[in-house]
Amino acid sequence: MQQGIWKPRLFFLPIFSAGVFFCFGIFFAATAQATEYSSASYVVKDPVLAPAGYATSAGYAMTMTVGQIAIGTSTPTVAGTVGETRSGFEYFPFVNRPTPSATAGAAQVSLSWTALTGVLGWTVSGYSVGQSTVSGGPYTFSAVGNVTSSVATGLANGTMYYFVIAAKDFFGNFIATSTEVSGTPVASAIPAPTPSTGGGGGGIVAPPVYETPTLPSIPITIPPFTLPPPGICRTVADLNCDGYVDIVDFSIMYYWYEKVEVPARVDLAADGVINLADFSVMAFYWYERNYL
């Protein structure tokens, strides 16, 4: 009977243990026990987490070092065997692949892709767009900078174009290439000019393009002004709490310009009305991102 009651309560035991180990791991981490392990394709022998000369200064404190790191490779020197011996922990730099999408327009194709995330040593410094009229390439690459969208212009309407996005590291090496996307530019859907009276037989007007609207997709939600600002608000003038005081905050305040009954958070001059005095306070706290 007693055991039956305790069965659900025992559920908390692993959670508690995990919490305790987590805390110990954070606050008392120093030397880790080495454990050898292996698989069919590799062997890790005598791994060591070694405390070294701990350094401290007024600005930082080093509490643990991990020694003997070596970069790894996923290609064995001899196929199917462990053919290479290196000391230290191996790690594998990784970068995911961009996921592209293409939207065709008049004589152009708009491309957008997901930003890549590099870990353990690979940092994406920019992208190149590869373009071809043949699926699978060869592609002609053009550097577009460290952006996640680009527009291929000057294309022939009615021709299918194929694109891939290549990510580059600091030295300009391609470190990841996306799957291929395609788009066929078409003539614009803007109505053709009205033919003049007495004109000729008339030309061929391209049919309007009716695509499924995909934009805009997700609006940015601004937190309510009636609530106290959350902790990430940079200053009192950061009305949307995005860490910046910029044109967005200016626009939000402008919405209440010369209105009465404004939210107290917007009324920076605390005089019951939004006027130039409030904008002056905002200008004092101005801190904008570099958009371009």
Partner: protein, 317 residues
């Protein structure tokens, strides 16, 4: 029983203490030199029927100023023909100068972060004398020091006179060309869709911004339409249902119902169109937040463990 004189002295002391920051500031503002508007007129002697450019500059008198409000009164027979404000020190206009009233122009805006300047360009008014004689432009207004106190300082009153002479077909004066024609469309356009339950009744709205370094941004127009169009062709489109909007501007459609285009036109008629696209995430989750989540998780686990221990001990007893 407190003697009356003591009570009065105590009350005065209290009032003085409470108001001391404001009194101190009032003393400071009156002793500091007020900012003033200065002018540059091209050509100095105008002809009837020909444009005269009057450039407005701000002299902050060695103080940092972050907001400005100006009223211009134009007296004498003249017409206000156009305005250029693209290269202004004003970073964001609260009230843009317009030519709607031929004798009166008012404008205000902010200088983000403040500025100390002896000759910071604000804008250029172009006027055309209708008759010979003296034209006078008088300015009043106020500035705000770059602090968070929100206390205005009046501008030093100033004025400029322009002498207009009858037009002479033989000895024509130089034209009022202080800037070359603007052929560049607005640039650095940003527009994103936002939503807030207290703005526009919870409807979606667009916050937009653009720069035009020459004649200045004149209008923002929104187009919500079911089919996609080429932005190049939309820049000169006059057939579709564009709405002239102020910033911020509410959207009439729901999310995903329409393509949304923004057309920004400068004062010289050059236009740029962008598709209001995927909004960027302006606030990536900060490291501090992530740390807080982990910290809270650990605390919760410890609390759960302690609860478990307490229940366990209680059951044993």
């Amino acid at each position: 029983m407190i003697p009356t004189r003591t009570f009065i002295v105590a009350a005065l002391l209290l009032v003085t203490t409470a108001l001391s920051p404001r009194l101190l500031f009032a003393v400071e503002t009156t002793t500091a030199q007020a900012a003033e508007i200065t002018f540059s007129v091209t050509p100095e002697k105008a002809e009837v029927g020909k444009e005269v450019a009057v450039q407005f500059f701000l002299n902050t008198k060695q103080q940092s100023v972050n907001a400005l409000s100006v009223e211009v009164t134009l007296s004498g027979g003249a017409t206000l023909s156009r305005i250029r404000d693209g290269d202004s020190i004003i970073g964001a206009w609260l009230q843009k100068a317009t030519t709607a009233d031929p004798t009166h122009v008012s404008f205000s805006g902010i200088i983000p972060g403040g500025m100390v300047t002896a000759k910071g360009k604000i804008l250029t008014l172009y006027i055309i004398p209708r008759e010979s004689g003296a034209l006078k432009l008088s300015v009043t207004g106020s500035t705000f020091p770059n602090d968070a106190l929100a206390i205005a300082t009046p501008l030093q009153s100033n004025s400029v006179s322009v002498q207009a002479v009858p037009a002479s077909p033989k000895t024509s004066l130089p034209l009022a060309v202080v800037e070359t024609g603007d052929t560049m469309p607005p640039q650095e356009i940003t527009a994103h869709i936002y939503q807030n339950q207290e703005m526009f009744g919870g409807k979606l709205f667009v916050i937009m911004h653009a720069k035009d370094n020459e004649s200045g941004v004149a209008t923002f127009e929104l187009l919500e339409i079911a089919e996609r169009h080429s932005v190049t062709e939309l820049s000169s489109d006059e057939r579709l249902d564009w709405r002239v909007v102020d910033n911020p501007a509410p959207l009439s459609g729901a999310v995903g119902a329409n393509f949304v285009y923004l057309r920004v036109t400068d004062r010289d008629g050059n236009a740029t169109v962008i598709e209001v696209g995927h909004p960027i995430q302006l606030s990536p989750e900060s490291t501090e937040q992530i740390y807080n989540k982990w910290f809270i998780s650990v605390i919760l686990m410890i609390v759960a463990g302690l609860l478990f221990l307490w229940l366990y001990r209680r059951s044993r007893t």
